[in-house]
């Protein structure tokens, strides 16, 4: 079936809405936004202080997003990447340049509602200047077939005194195969927080690698991952933090819940310190749902399944 551009736009926006995106924002002139389907930009809107330059490539889109120096962008920027067909390849090349003293919140949705054999690659290069605040939250929806291979890679540099918050969520539908690889270099007195929340089901295969280099004096970081695995899903979470500067503080916090006899969870926290005034800590909890939490909810009249749902929803919220 061949869709017109208008139909494509409507369908991808619908998928974006189903994945939790606010569809009102995509057409809103006050809000910077962009919708990309396969290798085509279907719509784009810039607002003052932000430039969004895009170019179609053979298999995807190359996008350069710049937030100008000193600009505080009032509304979150909405990005939607996706593919409607069941099969195909999409490669997104994303460069983000968040200049000194700017502030921006980006909300991205990656939607592949019908995927049976799709590969989605994202290569991101993110430069955050000094005294800037950058939040990036990415929510994925891959449909219910698990027929997708998603490979997001990012290299991030966080400047002095800057704040960087990254959230990755994939809690609806199936994951498919996910190979997530983020590396962050943190400057002096910067603050980095990386959060991943994933619900694996069926044969989902999840690998998360997050590496943080605390290179600037007084840099702080938190790597937080929350995974729930059902059926035969498997996951490996590698959270690495290197404390390389005086007064650098890092923490790795991984919680993986296995709700099923055949799911497999693995956590590999790597913490390393090369400066005697740096400190990096980690905690990992891997296992079944907490018994006391279950009993507490059951003592309020919930049955076992209801109690599990409440606990899982909270962890992935």
């Amino acid at each position: 079936m061949i869709l017109t551009r208008e139909e494509e736009y409507q369908k991808i926006v619908e998928a974006y809405g189903n994945a939790g995106g606010n569809t009102d924002l995509l057409g809103n002139r006050q809000v910077a936004n962009m919708v990309v389907h396969e290798n085509r930009v279907l719509s784009a809107n810039e607002v003052e202080g932000i430039s969004l330059k895009s170019e179609s490539t053979e298999r995807g889109v190359a996008l350069v997003l710049t937030v100008e120096e000193g600009r505080k962008i009032e509304h979150p920027v909405d990005l939607c990447f996706g593919m409607l067909p069941q099969e195909g390849l999409q490669e997104i090349d994303l460069k983000m340049n968040v200049q000194d003293r700017s502030e921006v919140n980006i909300i991205a949705h990656c939607v592949f509602p019908n995927a049976t054999n799709i590969t989605h690659k994202m290569d991101a290069d993110i430069r955050i200047g000094n005294n800037a605040v950058f939040s990036y939250s990415e929510t994925h929806y891959h449909g219910d077939h698990g027929g997708i291979n998603v490979i997001p890679k990012a290299r991030v540099e966080v400047g002095e005194n800057s704040v960087y918050r990254n959230t990755f969520a994939l809690v609806k539908g199936q994951v498919g195969r996910l190979d997530f690889d983020y590396e962050t270099i943190c400057g002096r007195k910067s603050n980095t927080e990386l959060v991943a929340k994933i619900y694996g089901k069926a044969q989902d295969d999840i690998r998360i690698a997050e590496k943080v280099h605390l290179n600037g004096e007084g840099a702080k970081s938190l790597i937080k991952s929350r995974l729930v695995l059902k059926d035969k899903a498997r996951a490996e979470v590698v959270g690495e933090t290197y404390g390389n500067a005086p007064l650098a503080r890092g923490h790795v916090d991984c919680n993986e819940i296995v709700d099923g006899d055949e799911a497999i969870a693995k956590a590999v926290p790597i913490v390393s310190v090369s400066n005697r005034q740096a400190k990096v800590t980690h905690e990992a909890a891997i296992g079944s749902i907490d018994k006391k939490q279950m009993q507490t909810l059951m003592a309020r009249g919930l049955n076992e399944e209801e109690a599990i749902n409440v606990i899982v929803r909270g962890i992935l919220a």
């Binding site: 929350r226 009249g301 409440v310």
Partner: protein, 238 residues
Amino acid sequence: MLEVSQLCYNSNGQAIVDDLTLSIGKQEIHAIIGANGTGKTTLAYLVMGIYSPFTGSVFFEGEDITACSVSERAQKGITLAWQDPARFEGLKVGEYLKLSNKNGSRAIEDCLSMVGLLPSQFLNRSVDENLSGGERRRVELAAVLAMQPKLAILDEVDSGIDMASLPYIMQGVSAMKSQGSSVLLITHTKDALDIADRASLLCGGKVLQTGSPEEMSQWFGDHCVICNHINVPEEGSA
């Protein structure tokens, strides 16, 4: 309402609850007192169904519930406020209270107010590690109030509560009674004993004495060495 007969529970070969018999009437606040480690929380778990007794039985409203699960007992109207309540990441106080209040018969805001917590400040907090110990216990009591149970087992809901808030907790417990609930009130304080109808003293997993709060208040005096089973090293041990 609740009849516990000849309950025994062992752990690692040691009797923790030992031939314990106790009954609680309708709309009765029954305090349980006794030193640390005498089996009060274990009794609470046995009544809630978290532990199964080795021998003995639990009857509730004339029905043998000894073999019932925690959920089944809760559905019959029994609930428990834990001594050290669990924390829940990502679950808001408001949602937590709503879970307890399935029929929605009492406004959850009122339940928070009854334990002296401002709804505007607490409804959107998470029931996670960021609540203080006292706040978490008060939220737990609010959840019990929201459930309007027939029998509330309250395990030291008044411990670690600040002086200004303690009256709210006591009023909350008394309110349960006036609304028709029975309460098994595990406590170490005289304040809680004073709002009880009766009290039982536990020692070494047994009920040593049951009486009126006045009679039982003797155990809070200067001579609070409850009985010689407690804190006496076993023969032969160092």
